[in-house]
C-alpha cells in the first residue's frame, strides 16, 4: 500500500520552498509507517499513476511557466485531468495552481493554455497594480470532516485569478487571495486543490497534509483511517502566525 508523491517539475518549479510540501507528506507517512516514495516528473516525462498518488505542482518563474504550459498541452495534461476526474489528489501552488486553470496570461501578454482542471483564468497585473505579497490566513471548509478549518501561508504573485464554475478553496481572513478583490482563495475540484499559499504550505497546516494523504489512500480503501500524530510544534507555529494576522 505504498503512497507515491509525484513531484512535478521538481527541478524547475521550486521557487518558494515547495520542497517543504514534499517533505511534509513524506514524513507524516513515515511516522505512521505508511510506505512512501517520491518520484520527480520532469519535462517530457509522462506521469505514471499507481492508484495511491499525490501530485505536487509548485511555483516557478514566468520563463519556466511557458515551457511547462507547452509540456502540459499534450497527453500529459490530459492524463492529469483524467487522474483528477478519477478522484486522484493534486496540489497546485502559485504557478502550478495558475496552470491548473484554463489559461494564464504572462506580464508580456502571452496567453499560456492551462490544464483546465479548474474553471478559472489568470490575468496579469496591470502596470498600476502591485504584486500581491504577504502573509495570508484563509478559512477553509473541509467536507471530509464537515468542519471549518484554517490555513496560513505566504503569497507572492502578480497574476490575478478569477474563478468561473469552481469552488474556492476558502475565504480570505487576512491577505489577498486569488485577486485581492473578491475574498476568495484558491480552488478545489474533487481531490484537486489549488492555492497561492506557500510558506511552505503543508508544514504549518498538518491537517491539510493529512487530508491529502487520506484522500489518496481512501481511493483504494474507503475505510482507511490515519493514526493521529503529535502536532504540538506545528500548532504553535500556526498559532503564532495566525494570531499576528487576526
Amino acid at each position: 500500500m505504498k503512497l507515491t508523491i509525484h513531484h512535478l517539475y521538481a527541478d524547475m518549479m521550486n521557487l518558494y520552498g515547495d520542497r517543504g510540501n514534499v517533505i511534509s507528506i513524506k514524513k507524516r507517512c513515515e511516522w505512521r509507517s505508511i510506505p512512501v516514495e517520491v518520484v520527480d516528473v520532469g519535462l517530457g516525462e509522462r506521469i505514471q499513476p499507481t492508484s495511491r498518488d499525490i501530485f505536487l505542482f509548485g511555483g516557478g518563474q514566468d520563463r519556466e511557466q511557458a515551457l511547462l504550459a507547452e509540456d502540459l498541452s499534450g497527453s500529459k495534461g490530459a492524463d492529469l485531468r483524467a487522474v483528477v476526474e478519477d478522484g486522484g489528489v493534486v496540489l497546485g501552488v502559485c504557478g502550478g495552481y495558475q496552470l491548473m486553470g484554463h489559461s494564464y496570461e504572462t506580464p508580456e501578454g502571452e496567453r499560456l493554455p492551462g490544464v483546465g482542471i479548474f474553471d478559472l483564468t489568470t490575468e496579469p497585473r496591470k502596470p498600476d497594480e502591485e504584486r500581491l505579497i504577504g502573509n495570508v490566513l484563509v478559512r477553509v471548509r473541509a467536507p471530509e470532516t464537515d468542519e471549518v478549518r484554517e490555513i496560513v501561508g505566504f503569497e507572492n504573485h502578480g497574476g490575478r485569478t478569477y474563478l468561473g464554475d469552481t469552488e474556492p478553496l476558502g475565504e480570505v481572513v487576512a491577505g489577498y487571495g486569488n485577486n485581492g478583490q473578491d475574498g476568495t482563495e484558491g480552488a478545489r475540484h474533487l481531490n484537486a486543490y489549488g492555492t497561492y499559499l506557500h510558506g511552505s504550505l503543508l508544514p504549518k497546516n498538518p491537517w491539510l497534509t493529512d487530508q491529502l494523504i487520506l484522500n489518496a489512500l481512501r481511493r483504494v480503501d474507503d475505510s482507511f483511517e490515519l493514526e493521529p500524530l503529535d502536532d504540538a510544534v506545528e500548532r504553535v507555529a500556526f498559532d503564532s502566525l495566525a494570531d499576528r494576522l487576526r
Partner: protein
C-alpha cells in the same frame, strides 16, 4: 588625468561637504550616500572627473554573495602592498555611494588622496558605475537568487553586468568565477576575461542543492552535467549539447583544508607562481572570496607575496563572521543570508562536530526577507544523514529564536533533528544560550540580519564587546 582647477567640480565637492556635516548634525542618517547625491546634482560629471585623477584607476566588485568580504580582502592586500585605496562603505554600493566615497577622499580642488579606487557595486548598478568611474577592472563573484521576495531573473542580471564590459578600456580586465556557470558564460562577451576557481575533489558535496539557481547551460539551456558540486550550482560542469564548460583557471585554489572555526588553508596558484595561503575566517565561500581578492589584486599589479600576506592578516568582515569574547565563553556570529550560505555554515561547522552549542535566530522583517519559505530549501537533511552515517559525534539540540522561531522548530522537526528550547525573544535567547554554553566553549549563533543586530546589541549591553563594529 587632468588636475587643473575646475570650478564646477570644486563647487560640487564643497556642497557635498556641507551636506555631510548637516546630515551628521541632524542625525538624519544616510550620511554615506547623501554627499554623493548632492555632488552629482552640482556637477553630474563629478564621478568621472575624480576617478580619472586616480593614478592607478579603479576596480569594482559585484555579485550576489561576498562583495563586502572580497572588497575588504583586496583592501587589506593593497594596504599591505602600500597602495592607498578609496572604498565605498557597505550599504552604499550604488553610483551615489561610489561618488560619495570619492568626493570625501578628495581635496576641495579635486585631488584624490588615494591612488586607486576599490568599490563594491550592486549588480544592477554596474553599468552606470562602469560608464562613469573609469574602471580598469571588474570582478563578478557569483549570481544566486538572493532576496526571495524579489522576482529575480538571474540571466537578466548577467546580461546587465555584461553590458558594462564595453566601458572598460582596451587593457581592462574582467575577473570571473569560473565555477559559477552563469558568471563564467559572461566571459563570452569580452576578450579580457581572467578566471578563478577551486580544484579540490574532496569538497564535492555530490548533490546539486535544492536551492541551485542555474543548473541549465547558460548558452543553450540544456541541463549541465556536473563532475563536482561545491555549493549551490557552483562546481565543475560541462554542457553535453553545445560544449560550454568550466573555463581554464588563471587563479586556482587546491589542497583546501578547513580548520573548523579557526580558518582555512589552501594552495594558491597564480600566473606569477604558487604559494600556501592561510585565512583566519572559515568556510569554502571565503576561499572563493580570497581567490577573487587574489585575482583582483594580482591583475592590479600586486606581487604574490603581498597577496599572501594581506590575506593572512585579514580578520573577517562586518556582518558576515564575527567572534566575540563573552567572559570565559566565546560567541561566534555567522550571518544567515540565504539557503546557500546556511548550507555552507552547516557543512563547515555543524557536520564537523565542532559546534556543540548552537542558536539559530530567524526574523522576517523586510531586511531578512518576509517570506520564510526558504528555510525549506536549506539542506538540514544533510545533518540528519551525517548523523545516521556516524559522521558526527551526535548532534546537539539546536536552540531556536527570532520572530519565526516556531517555523524554524517545525523545519528541524521535519528534518528529524533535535530541537532545544524555543525562545522567540532574541535578547532572552542569547542570554540563555550563553548561560547554557559550558565555560571555555564556543556558542555558534546563526541569525538573519535583523536578529543579528538585536543579538549584537544585547552582547554589547552585557559588556561583551566594543560598541563599534566596523573593523576600520
Amino acid at each position: 588625468m587632468s588636475s587643473e582647477f575646475d570650478p564646477r567640480l570644486s563647487a560640487a565637492i564643497l556642497a557635498a561637504r556641507s551636506a555631510q556635516i548637516a546630515s551628521r548634525t541632524l542625525k538624519t542618517g544616510g550620511g554615506s550616500t547623501m554627499p554623493g547625491v548632492v555632488a552629482r546634482r552640482v556637477d553630474p560629471k563629478v564621478l568621472t572627473k575624480l576617478s580619472q585623477r586616480l593614478p592607478m584607476g579603479s576596480a569594482a566588485i559585484t555579485g550576489t554573495n561576498g562583495k563586502t568580504t572580497t572588497t575588504r580582502m583586496v583592501s587589506k592586500i593593497l594596504q599591505t602592498a602600500g597602495v592607498r585605496a578609496v572604498n565605498n562603505s557597505t550599504g552604499a554600493n550604488l553610483v551615489t555611494g561610489v561618488t560619495a566615497a570619492l568626493v570625501s577622499d578628495s581635496s576641495v580642488s579635486g585631488k584624490p588622496a588615494s591612488e586607486m579606487g576599490l568599490f563594491e557595486v550592486d549588480e544592477a548598478s554596474v553599468p552606470k558605475v562602469a560608464a562613469e568611474a573609469d574602471l580598469k577592472l571588474l570582478a563578478v563573484l557569483n549570481l544566486f537568487r538572493d532576496q526571495l521576495d524579489r522576482y529575480g531573473e538571474l540571466a537578466y542580471t548577467g546580461k546587465v553586468i555584461a553590458s558594462a564590459f564595453v566601458d572598460l578600456p582596451p587593457d581592462g580586465t574582467v575577473v570571473l568565477n569560473a565555477d559559477d556557470p552563469l558568471v563564467a558564460s559572461l566571459g563570452r562577451s569580452t576578450a579580457k576575461a581572467v578566471y578563478y576557481g577551486v580544484d579540490e575533489p574532496n569538497l564535492d558535496t555530490g548533490r546539486l542543492q535544492h536551492v541551485a539557481d542555474s543548473k541549465d547551460c547558460p548558452v543553450c539551456g540544456t541541463a549541465l552535467d556536473y563532475e563536482t558540486v561545491y555549493m549551490g550550482h557552483v562546481g565543475l560542469y560541462g554542457c553535453g549539447n553545445c560544449g560550454f564548460s568550466r573555463p581554464e583557471l588563471q587563479y586556482r585554489a587546491s589542497r583546501v583544508r578547513f580548520d573548523g572555526a579557526r580558518g582555512t588553508e589552501f594552495l594558491l596558484s597564480t600566473p606569477k607562481g604558487e604559494a600556501e595561503v592561510r585565512i583566519e575566517i572559515p568556510g569554502l565561500y571565503n576561499v572563493y572570496n580570497a581567490l577573487a581578492a587574489a585575482a583582483v589584486a594580482g591583475e592590479s599589479g600586486v606581487a604574490l607575496g603581498e597577496i599572501v600576506r594581506g590575506l593572512g592578516e585579514f580578520g573577517g568582515a562586518f556582518g558576515r563572521v564575527e567572534r566575540v569574547k563573552a567572559g570565559d565563553r566565546e560567541a561566534f556570529l555567522l550571518l544567515i543570508k540565504n539557503p546557500v550560505g546556511f548550507n555552507e555554515i552547516l557543512r563547515t561547522f555543524v557536520t564537523g562536530a565542532d559546534a556543540r552549542n548552537v542558536l539559530i535566530a530567524i526574523n522576517d522583517n523586510d531586511a531578512d526577507g518576509r517570506d520564510v519559505s526558504w528555510l525549506w530549501d536549506v539542506d538540514f537533511e544533510m545533518l540528519a544523514d551525517a548523523k545516521s552515517e556516524g559522521r558526527t559525534n551526535g548532534l546537539p539540540p539546536f536552540m531556536v529564536s527570532g520572530i519565526r522561531a516556531d517555523d524554524m522548530a517545525v523545519r528541524l522537526k521535519y528534518a528529524e533533528l533535535p530541537v532545544g528550547s524555543v525562545v522567540p525573544d532574541r535578547k532572552k535567547a542569547i542570554r540563555e544560550a550563553l548561560a547554557a554554553t559550558p565555560p571555555g566553549e564556543t556558542l555558534y549563533v546563526l541569525p538573519t540580519y535583523t536578529a543579528m543586530l538585536e543579538i549584537r546589541q544585547t552582547l554589547s549591553e552585557l559588556g561583551y564587546t566594543h560598541p563599534f563594529w566596523e573593523d576600520k
